[in-house]
Protein backbone atom coordinates (compact mmCIF):
# COMPACT_ATOMS: atom_id res chain seq x y z
CA UNK A 1 0.00 0.00 0.00
CA UNK A 2 2.83 2.38 0.84
CA UNK A 3 4.43 1.57 -2.51
CA UNK A 4 1.18 2.36 -4.33
CA UNK A 5 0.87 5.63 -2.45
CA UNK A 6 4.44 6.46 -3.39
CA UNK A 7 3.78 5.68 -7.07
CA UNK A 8 0.69 7.88 -7.11
CA UNK A 9 2.57 10.75 -5.47
CA UNK A 10 5.50 10.22 -7.84
CA UNK A 11 3.36 10.91 -10.87
CA UNK A 12 3.42 14.60 -9.96
CA UNK A 13 7.19 14.86 -9.92
CA UNK A 14 10.03 14.99 -12.40
CA UNK A 15 14.39 14.23 -12.74
CA UNK A 16 17.88 15.69 -15.03
CA UNK A 17 19.59 14.03 -18.00
CA UNK A 18 18.62 10.40 -17.22
CA UNK A 19 18.43 9.77 -20.98
CA UNK A 20 20.44 11.83 -23.49
CA UNK A 21 21.11 11.18 -27.20
CA UNK A 22 21.67 7.83 -28.92
CA UNK A 23 25.18 6.53 -28.35
CA UNK A 24 25.81 9.08 -25.60
CA UNK A 25 27.63 8.36 -22.35
CA UNK A 26 27.13 10.26 -19.11
CA UNK A 27 29.43 10.31 -16.09
CA UNK A 28 28.11 12.20 -13.11
CA UNK A 29 29.13 12.71 -9.52
CA UNK A 30 27.27 14.75 -6.89
CA UNK A 31 28.99 15.41 -3.60
CA UNK A 32 27.91 16.85 -0.26
CA UNK A 33 29.57 16.22 3.11
CA UNK A 34 26.99 13.62 4.15
CA UNK A 35 25.81 12.21 0.83
CA UNK A 36 27.46 11.24 -2.43
CA UNK A 37 26.02 9.93 -5.66
CA UNK A 38 27.90 8.60 -8.68
CA UNK A 39 26.23 7.64 -11.92
CA UNK A 40 27.35 6.27 -15.28
CA UNK A 41 24.91 5.85 -18.13
CA UNK A 42 24.79 4.78 -21.75
CA UNK A 43 21.89 5.94 -23.90
CA UNK A 44 21.15 3.16 -26.37
CA UNK A 45 18.10 4.89 -27.82
CA UNK A 46 16.69 8.38 -27.31
CA UNK A 47 13.97 6.59 -25.36
CA UNK A 48 16.04 4.66 -22.79
CA UNK A 49 19.47 4.27 -21.19
CA UNK A 50 21.38 1.75 -19.10
CA UNK A 51 22.84 3.05 -15.87
CA UNK A 52 25.05 2.21 -12.93
CA UNK A 53 24.58 4.10 -9.66
CA UNK A 54 26.51 4.23 -6.42
CA UNK A 55 25.09 6.09 -3.41
CA UNK A 56 26.35 6.92 0.06
CA UNK A 57 24.26 8.54 2.80
CA UNK A 58 25.98 9.04 6.14
CA UNK A 59 22.83 9.98 8.05
CA UNK A 60 21.06 6.78 7.02
CA UNK A 61 23.32 4.54 9.13
CA UNK A 62 26.15 4.92 6.62
CA UNK A 63 23.97 3.52 3.88
CA UNK A 64 25.71 2.70 0.60
CA UNK A 65 24.57 0.86 -2.50
CA UNK A 66 25.54 -0.20 -6.00
CA UNK A 67 22.74 -0.62 -8.51
CA UNK A 68 22.22 -1.12 -12.23
CA UNK A 69 19.07 -0.51 -14.21
CA UNK A 70 17.33 1.44 -16.91
CA UNK A 71 16.06 4.99 -17.31
CA UNK A 72 13.25 5.88 -19.67
CA UNK A 73 12.14 9.01 -21.47
CA UNK A 74 8.39 8.67 -21.09
CA UNK A 75 7.43 11.81 -22.95
CA UNK A 76 9.09 14.82 -24.55
CA UNK A 77 7.23 17.97 -25.46
CA UNK A 78 9.05 20.10 -28.01
CA UNK A 79 8.04 23.72 -28.51
CA UNK A 80 10.06 26.04 -30.70
CA UNK A 81 11.82 27.79 -27.80
CA UNK A 82 11.51 25.22 -25.02
CA UNK A 83 11.20 21.57 -24.17
CA UNK A 84 9.61 19.53 -21.42
CA UNK A 85 10.52 15.97 -20.46
CA UNK A 86 9.10 13.25 -18.29
CA UNK A 87 11.46 10.49 -17.19
CA UNK A 88 11.37 7.39 -15.05
CA UNK A 89 13.90 4.79 -13.97
CA UNK A 90 14.12 1.51 -12.13
CA UNK A 91 17.33 0.10 -10.70
CA UNK A 92 18.26 -2.87 -8.55
CA UNK A 93 21.36 -3.95 -6.69
CA UNK A 94 23.01 -4.45 -3.35
CA UNK A 95 23.14 -2.20 -0.28
CA UNK A 96 24.80 -2.25 3.09
CA UNK A 97 24.56 -0.06 6.19
CA UNK A 98 25.49 -0.27 9.86
CA UNK A 99 22.47 -2.48 10.54
CA UNK A 100 22.11 -4.89 7.65
CA UNK A 101 22.82 -5.59 4.00
CA UNK A 102 20.94 -7.11 1.08
CA UNK A 103 18.99 -6.27 -2.06
CA UNK A 104 17.79 -2.76 -2.84
CA UNK A 105 15.57 -1.25 -5.51
CA UNK A 106 15.31 2.33 -6.76
CA UNK A 107 12.43 3.93 -8.53
CA UNK A 108 12.31 7.52 -9.70
CA UNK A 109 10.11 9.88 -11.63
CA UNK A 110 11.33 13.20 -12.88
CA UNK A 111 10.07 16.02 -15.03
CA UNK A 112 11.76 19.13 -16.32
CA UNK A 113 11.00 22.07 -18.52
CA UNK A 114 13.57 24.44 -19.88
CA UNK A 115 14.03 27.25 -22.31
CA UNK A 116 17.24 29.18 -22.86
CA UNK A 117 16.38 31.51 -19.99
CA UNK A 118 14.44 29.37 -17.51
CA UNK A 119 14.81 25.89 -16.07
CA UNK A 120 12.58 23.92 -13.73
CA UNK A 121 12.85 20.38 -12.46
CA UNK A 122 10.96 18.16 -10.06
CA UNK A 123 12.14 14.72 -9.11
CA UNK A 124 11.26 12.03 -6.63
CA UNK A 125 13.27 8.94 -5.93
CA UNK A 126 12.49 5.98 -3.72
CA UNK A 127 14.86 3.52 -2.09
CA UNK A 128 13.29 0.16 -1.20
CA UNK A 129 15.31 -2.16 0.99
CA UNK A 130 15.04 -4.24 4.14
CA UNK A 131 11.30 -3.61 4.37
CA UNK A 132 11.82 0.15 4.30
CA UNK A 133 10.79 2.67 1.69
CA UNK A 134 12.62 5.96 1.85
CA UNK A 135 12.29 8.72 -0.64
CA UNK A 136 13.64 12.07 -1.65
CA UNK A 137 11.92 14.95 -3.42
CA UNK A 138 13.94 17.60 -5.22
CA UNK A 139 12.66 20.73 -6.92
CA UNK A 140 14.65 23.31 -8.83
CA UNK A 141 14.22 26.60 -10.55
CA UNK A 142 16.99 28.30 -12.47
CA UNK A 143 17.48 31.20 -14.79
CA UNK A 144 20.26 32.18 -17.14
CA UNK A 145 21.55 35.74 -16.57
CA UNK A 146 22.63 35.81 -20.22
CA UNK A 147 21.92 33.61 -23.21
CA UNK A 148 24.89 31.72 -24.60
CA UNK A 149 25.28 30.26 -28.07
CA UNK A 150 26.82 27.06 -29.41
CA UNK A 151 30.10 26.17 -27.72
CA UNK A 152 29.87 29.17 -25.40
CA UNK A 153 29.83 28.96 -21.62
CA UNK A 154 26.26 28.66 -20.37
CA UNK A 155 25.67 29.96 -16.85
CA UNK A 156 22.65 29.27 -14.66
CA UNK A 157 21.68 30.52 -11.23
CA UNK A 158 19.65 27.78 -9.57
CA UNK A 159 17.71 27.42 -6.36
CA UNK A 160 17.27 23.82 -5.23
CA UNK A 161 15.02 22.54 -2.47
CA UNK A 162 15.37 18.95 -1.33
CA UNK A 163 13.65 16.79 1.19
CA UNK A 164 15.20 13.41 1.94
CA UNK A 165 13.28 11.24 4.37
CA UNK A 166 15.56 10.14 7.25
CA UNK A 167 18.45 12.09 5.78
CA UNK A 168 17.75 15.58 7.04
CA UNK A 169 14.11 15.55 8.24
CA UNK A 170 13.83 19.07 6.87
CA UNK A 171 13.78 20.80 3.55
CA UNK A 172 17.29 21.79 2.55
CA UNK A 173 17.59 24.85 0.33
CA UNK A 174 20.70 25.12 -1.82
CA UNK A 175 21.43 28.12 -4.04
CA UNK A 176 23.93 27.10 -6.70
CA UNK A 177 25.57 28.18 -9.90
CA UNK A 178 25.71 25.88 -12.90
CA UNK A 179 28.17 26.11 -15.76
CA UNK A 180 27.75 24.17 -18.98
CA UNK A 181 30.56 24.32 -21.51
CA UNK A 182 30.49 22.00 -24.51
CA UNK A 183 30.07 18.54 -22.97
CA UNK A 184 31.00 19.40 -19.38
CA UNK A 185 28.54 20.58 -16.73
CA UNK A 186 29.41 21.51 -13.18
CA UNK A 187 27.41 22.93 -10.31
CA UNK A 188 28.67 24.54 -7.11
CA UNK A 189 26.41 25.46 -4.23
CA UNK A 190 26.13 26.00 -0.51
CA UNK A 191 23.04 24.92 1.42
CA UNK A 192 21.16 26.72 4.17
CA UNK A 193 22.49 24.00 6.49
CA UNK A 194 26.02 25.14 5.73
CA UNK A 195 26.92 22.26 3.44
CA UNK A 196 28.81 22.66 0.22
CA UNK A 197 27.51 21.00 -2.89
CA UNK A 198 29.35 19.97 -6.04
CA UNK A 199 28.20 18.16 -9.16
CA UNK A 200 30.32 17.24 -12.15
CA UNK A 201 28.81 15.78 -15.29
CA UNK A 202 30.41 14.87 -18.60
CA UNK A 203 28.57 13.76 -21.74
CA UNK A 204 30.24 12.31 -24.79
Amino acid sequence: MRLITYLVLSCFFVFAHPVIYKGGWVYQGSFMPQMNEIRMGYTASPKYSFVYNADYFENMDNYQDHTVGMNFLLKRWLQNDSQGNLYSGIHGGYYSDDINDGEVGHLFFMGDWESREHYTMLKTKGYFYDGKDRYSVTARYGFAPFVAGMDELQTWLILQTMYFQYQSKEVVVTPMIRFFYKNVLWEIGHSTRGQSYLTLMVHY
Binding site: Y21, K22, G24, P46, R76, L78, R116, M150, D151
Partner: protein, 91 residues
Protein backbone atom coordinates in the same frame (compact mmCIF):
# COMPACT_ATOMS: atom_id res chain seq x y z
CA UNK B 1 35.02 32.59 -69.98
CA UNK B 2 36.94 29.30 -70.00
CA UNK B 3 38.51 30.23 -66.71
CA UNK B 4 35.11 31.00 -65.23
CA UNK B 5 33.67 27.65 -66.35
CA UNK B 6 36.78 25.86 -65.06
CA UNK B 7 36.48 27.52 -61.65
CA UNK B 8 32.76 26.79 -61.56
CA UNK B 9 33.39 23.09 -62.25
CA UNK B 10 36.13 22.97 -59.63
CA UNK B 11 33.79 24.58 -57.13
CA UNK B 12 31.01 22.14 -57.91
CA UNK B 13 33.39 19.16 -57.77
CA UNK B 14 34.80 20.00 -54.36
CA UNK B 15 31.89 21.71 -52.67
CA UNK B 16 30.25 19.79 -49.84
CA UNK B 17 26.57 19.11 -49.56
CA UNK B 18 25.20 21.83 -47.37
CA UNK B 19 21.82 21.46 -45.73
CA UNK B 20 19.93 23.44 -43.12
CA UNK B 21 17.55 21.60 -40.80
CA UNK B 22 14.95 23.26 -38.59
CA UNK B 23 14.88 21.58 -35.18
CA UNK B 24 12.42 23.04 -32.63
CA UNK B 25 13.14 22.69 -28.93
CA UNK B 26 16.93 22.88 -28.93
CA UNK B 27 17.86 24.93 -25.88
CA UNK B 28 21.18 23.76 -24.41
CA UNK B 29 24.69 22.49 -25.00
CA UNK B 30 23.50 18.90 -24.72
CA UNK B 31 21.41 19.45 -27.86
CA UNK B 32 24.58 20.62 -29.60
CA UNK B 33 26.52 17.57 -28.43
CA UNK B 34 23.73 15.25 -29.54
CA UNK B 35 23.71 16.70 -33.05
CA UNK B 36 27.50 16.51 -33.34
CA UNK B 37 27.51 12.92 -32.10
CA UNK B 38 24.77 11.71 -34.43
CA UNK B 39 26.12 13.44 -37.57
CA UNK B 40 29.74 12.58 -36.78
CA UNK B 41 30.01 9.93 -39.50
CA UNK B 42 28.33 12.13 -42.13
CA UNK B 43 30.77 15.06 -41.91
CA UNK B 44 34.54 15.52 -41.97
CA UNK B 45 34.82 17.47 -38.72
CA UNK B 46 31.81 17.61 -36.37
CA UNK B 47 33.14 20.74 -34.62
CA UNK B 48 33.23 22.69 -37.89
CA UNK B 49 30.68 20.95 -40.08
CA UNK B 50 27.78 20.68 -37.63
CA UNK B 51 26.66 24.21 -36.81
CA UNK B 52 23.85 24.48 -34.27
CA UNK B 53 22.12 27.85 -34.02
CA UNK B 54 20.25 27.84 -30.72
CA UNK B 55 18.65 31.21 -31.52
CA UNK B 56 17.13 30.14 -34.84
CA UNK B 57 16.75 26.45 -33.84
CA UNK B 58 18.60 25.26 -36.93
CA UNK B 59 21.37 22.78 -37.63
CA UNK B 60 23.52 23.49 -40.68
CA UNK B 61 25.49 20.53 -41.99
CA UNK B 62 28.41 20.37 -44.39
CA UNK B 63 28.06 16.75 -45.44
CA UNK B 64 30.82 14.62 -46.93
CA UNK B 65 28.31 13.14 -49.32
CA UNK B 66 24.64 13.56 -49.88
CA UNK B 67 22.38 11.54 -47.61
CA UNK B 68 18.65 11.15 -47.83
CA UNK B 69 16.24 13.40 -46.00
CA UNK B 70 14.93 10.28 -44.29
CA UNK B 71 18.40 9.62 -42.86
CA UNK B 72 18.73 13.23 -41.74
CA UNK B 73 15.40 12.94 -39.93
CA UNK B 74 16.47 9.66 -38.29
CA UNK B 75 19.76 11.15 -37.07
CA UNK B 76 17.96 14.17 -35.66
CA UNK B 77 15.53 11.80 -33.97
CA UNK B 78 18.45 9.82 -32.48
CA UNK B 79 19.63 13.10 -30.98
CA UNK B 80 16.23 13.35 -29.32
CA UNK B 81 14.50 15.88 -31.58
CA UNK B 82 12.37 16.20 -34.70
CA UNK B 83 13.38 17.81 -37.98
CA UNK B 84 10.52 20.08 -39.01
CA UNK B 85 12.04 21.34 -42.27
CA UNK B 86 15.02 20.42 -44.44
CA UNK B 87 16.49 22.90 -46.90
CA UNK B 88 19.36 22.01 -49.28
CA UNK B 89 21.58 25.05 -49.68
CA UNK B 90 23.69 23.89 -52.63
CA UNK B 91 24.01 21.07 -55.15
Amino acid sequence: MKAFIFLLLINIAFAGFKVKVDVPGMVCQMCVQGMKKNFKSAVENPDKDVIVDLDKKTVTLNLKQKISEKEIKERVKDAGYNASKILWLDK
